[in-house]
Symmetry: C2
Subunit: 125 residues, 2 copies
């Protein structure tokens, strides 16, 4: 999408703008990019952003679902900042191909939330 | 995405699965497809689904932002159902190219909500 005004404003951002946006650590090192977000159907909340990490053109990448509330957009960097190190990401729940994500397992989300110290209530406004 | 289990479960759906999903009226007529969703940055809520409507390969399409709570997923149809007629959609706030969306105008979302009889509070769980 070419026009920033159309796919992002102060309050709103388009899903296709989030997809592909870079994710940085606190020191400005690029950790990866957001491939997609997982939406909670019942609450209408954004539950997770899936960070793809490493690899080249999708080969050898790993995917790390992050609780959405871990991401803070930084306008100057043009990407999201997370308060996580590459080491912390390496130890986090991950999968190496999209079809390996265990979203169907109800404990999977809880495992992710627990790793990042996020509680479900935190995602509600 | 090939694997349903990976991009949709009972509770979660991936943004890239929502994008491209068909939207039907109550009589099963296809109205269009979801091109993208607009996320509310502060609340983390899905605010709008943008329905593309008519046209061919994006030429001559029109885009209709719908309050997210208007869409109900129907498993049998494999798409979203809205309680709207094609006529109601034709009269709704619309734009003919992505860059024409007036998301930057704070009254734009309210105009959409008002048209569909949605109130902001309804989107909160």
């Amino acid at each position: 999408m070419s026009d920033v005004a159309a796919n992002e404003t102060r309050d709103l951002i388009s899903s296709d703008k989030v997809e592909g946006t870079a994710v940085y650590d606190r020191n400005g090192n690029k950790l990866g990019t957001v491939t997609n977000v997982m939406l909670d159907k019942r609450s209408g909340h954004v539950a997770y952003a899936v960070l793809s990490f490493g690899g080249f053109l999708g080969m050898g990448s790993s995917y790390h679902p992050l609780p959405w509330d871990q991401l803070t957009y930084n306008r100057d960097q043009g990407g999201y900042v997370v308060d996580l190190t590459e080491e912390q990401l390496r130890g986090a729940p991950t999968y190496s191909a999209p079809e390996e994500a265990r979203w169907g397992d109800p404990t999977y989300g809880r495992k992710i939330d627990a790793y990042y110290g996020s509680v479900e209530g935190r995602r509600s406004p």
